[in-house]
């Protein structure tokens, strides 16, 4: 938290419209309940973080939101319309996502990848492609123009003719974001956008996410990098073992004992013997440091 960050809470002042609201989302795989009764709302102009230890059900929850999974119970609605359980319809409605493991179209060029993202916002069918009327040309030109805008925005314009697979890792992540933005989403879901990045790249991604938010797209982000999350988000939800543990501003979440416990573990409660004493030590210090930080932040 040493890096100075722009945290403009300007959007909070306005009465924010709800973009995404998930109510009572439960996902069971046979006997295993991966996500249990999770409620989450994202308001327009907001960046919301979703954190939790590995295996907490974050990505499963994402998949429920984007229609890759059909949740066992609960509904997800985008701008007051219930989202269907088909990923392409969810994207059509205005929710775009990236993937935890990069899933670019590896053998298409950078530009083509973004053009594929335009799919839902254009409607030239096979017949118009075969006839090549003026309408088709216009639509293609507009798509390409918009795609180039997005490549400029993410800083990939110089590499438009490279194959996606030949981009360095950080740029592949950026391209995934550009491709998702090409569908003009009202809500962007980022699944671990900075995984495997060095601090400079993480900073760049952070600025990119702020820029996306400033363009009017709400963002929901899963991340393990706590510094990134707490710098970035207006609100953070913590998912532990499929349940939502806490939700609140970064300060609230950071100082919550249960969050710390979920990440670092708690001593066995029934055991009061001296063995647990050493483990209390580091936990306490973490607690205190985060409190200090909170104080520093609020001061």
């Amino acid at each position: 938290m040493t890096t100075a960050t722009p945290t403009p809470p300007a959007a909070e002042a306005q009465p924010a419209a709800t973009v995404l609201s998930a109510t009572g989302v439960t996902m069971r795989f046979g006997g295993l309940t991966a996500v249990q009764n999770v409620d989450l709302t994202v308001n327009s102009g907001e960046i919301v973080g979703l954190i939790g230890p590995n295996g907490a059900g974050k990505t499963t929850f994402f998949n429920c939101l984007t229609g890759l999974y059909t949740p066992t119970e609960g509904t997800v609605s985008y701008k007051d319309k219930v989202l269907p359980h088909k990923s392409h319809l969810v994207t059509q409605a205005g929710v775009a996502r990236t993937f935890q493991n990069i899933r670019l179209f590896a053998n298409m060029t950078v530009l083509e990848n973004v053009l594929v993202g335009r799919h839902t916002r254009t409607k030239e069918g096979l017949l118009s492609a075969l006839l090549r009327g003026p309408g088709f040309r216009r639509a293609e030109n507009q798509s390409e123009q918009r795609a180039m805008e997005l490549l400029e925005f993410t800083g990939l314009a110089a590499k438009r003719d490279h194959l996606a697979r030949n981009l360095p890792y950080g740029e592949q992540r950026k391209l995934e974001i550009a491709r998702a933005l090409a569908s003009d989403p009202g809500l962007l879901l980022l699944d671990e956008p900075t995984a495997g990045m060095n601090p400079q790249e993480t900073r760049a991604t952070q600025d990119l996410v702020f820029a996306i938010r400033d363009q009017g797209t709400a963002v929901l982000v899963i991340e393990h990098d706590m510094r990134f999350i707490f710098n970035l988000c207006d609100r953070v939800a913590v998912l532990v073992q499929g349940r939502k543990l806490v939700e609140g501003t970064p300060d609230v979440v950071q100082s919550d004992e249960r969050v710390v416990a979920a990440y670092l573990g708690t001593p066995y409660e029934g055991d009061t013997s001296a063995e647990t004493a050493p483990e209390d030590g580091p936990e306490d210090t973490t607690g205190t440091t985060s409190t200090k930080d909170t104080e520093g932040g609020t001061a």
């Binding site: 984007t66 890759l68 088909k86 990923s87 392409h88 994207t91 059509q92 775009a96 996502r97 993937f99 899933r103 670019l104 179209f105 590896a106 053998n107 298409m108 083509e112 053009l115 594929v116 993202g117 335009r118 799919h119 839902t120 254009t122 030239e124 069918g125 096979l126 492609a129 075969l130 090549r132 088709f136 639509a139 293609e140 798509s143 110089a158 438009r160 003719d161 490279h162 194959l163 697979r165 030949n166 491709r179 998702a180 090409a182 569908s183």
Partner: protein, 604 residues
Amino acid sequence: MITMTTNTPTTTKDQPAATTAPGLIPLPPASARITAVIGAATTFASTFLAWTWTEAFPGNLTISGYPGGLQVLTLTGALLTLLFLLSGQGIRGLRWLTPGGTNSPVLLLALGTFAVTWFAVGAIAVELGGLVNLEPGGWIAAVTSLLLVIAATALPSDLPADDQRPATGTWKRLLHSFKAPEPGRAAPLPAWIEVLTIAAACGAGLIVFTYGIGTEYGQLFIGFLILTGFGAPALQRSGLVRRFSTLSQKHRNVTITAAFVAAAAFPFTQESDTYTSVAVSILIFATVAVGLNVVVGLAGLLDLGYVAFLGVGAYTAALVSGAPTAALGIQFPFWAAVLAGAVVSMIFGVIIGAPTLRVRGDYLAIVTLGFGEIFRIAMQNLDGTSGPDITNGPNGIPSIPDLKFFSFDLGEPHTVLGVELGRFANYYLLMLLFTALIIIVFRRSDRSRIGRAWVAIREDETAAGAMGINSFRLKLMAFALGATLAGIAGTVLAHVEYGVHPDGYKFVHTVPPNSAFLLAAVILGGMGTVSGPLIGAALLYLIPAKLQFMADYQLLLFGIALVLLMRFRPEGLIADRRQQLEFHETGQLDVPKDSATGLTKTEA
């Protein structure tokens, strides 16, 4: 200084010496060159001598001063070798032949000439029973072509721009000697010269194709395959292919027109209908392969029952053709028959696609294979005893009347421009129109929102879904479009072959078209390209047709050839840029250097 030398191959061709490594055989380059020139020239001259004493060997190689049969191939090979050698020496007026590599094309052509010559000599010895049947001319040709190859291996090898390390080990050095640098940017020429070049290239293509299809006996066809097999990579290494593709991109419409005119000129080069009947079959087969390329190459759906759609089109056309045995006693005009064939095929495509496209990958291949066989067996059984009488069962629907456009009967020979065009020539020209149509459909659908969505589905279906692509709908669209294109080709096929028969649409058979050969044509030629399936289909049709003496081993050899191809050139003969990069790690070389847009600046 180092950056200077690495940049030279791409920027200028003035210093070929800087981009070469020592040859395989330690000879001084100067003497190697002289020996090679002498070898090529004497090989060339030897074709004017008699190679054997009797006309029992096909092609008549007995006349001095008049090369015939296989001698013509040796002559062509030696002449090309000589020209490329002299071009590599910087002879004025020939430099344009080798904008890329200079010595690797020479080596390839020398090997091709050598292989053809020794094949001819060997064939004479085997056929006539002993080396004693060789005349001195044959011996001279064998020795001089060997000399040529030895001298060519002693030439210093070219080095590609991205691979300047000298190779170690004999095998690696041998492989290395086939590599060549990419040609630099061509100097701008007047537009009319560029157009003439394209026309000349298309004309040359027509000559090669006409020669190949007109080879009268197996030995000549094998010789032709050997020479083109070495000649094509030689042209590629010399940079001419790259130059041509740059030109053809610049003048797209001219190239398409020239290629179409060259293809349409083929029947006018033929005196009889013997080879036009082969050509029309190739054309139909190739067209169906292009249609299959929509399904396999673009959308990545492995369809093993594709020939069924050809059959649907053919049967539909037969039923409405007015053939005496057709169950429907009606006769549609041809345009209506084509439309009916296309629509019925499309409906079948949707009906078969809707359930099968819910499975992916290997499962889809098996299910389509099953549906392909169901079609054939159903046609066999709709004979009035085991089902309603629609298709006459195993007898098929014979004697379909020839097409008539107004008073123009396609079944009758007509004299056009002083050349008599027979029945098959007429159908060839008709089919060519449909081929052009289907190529246009392929190209236009490829370069559109729909085509991009197909490729995206092929690359990663889940990610494509997350980008808002309704993958089921688009896969069904690809399947139905592929079926429609095959159906159109099928309507012509029914008329060309006088009838339809269930056994014409098997999964695998020794004669194309069948599903296995169609898929092989696409994979052999190159997935996702237009010219790939055309060339693949031509080869796969001609090889069984010309080499009937090895009919028993045909499928075995075919299998071996496919295995070798997948090992050494998995992207097919004509590589889609995307496919080539997928199979060969080439770093960042995918950035088009000759990009016409000028937006790409790798240096920037």
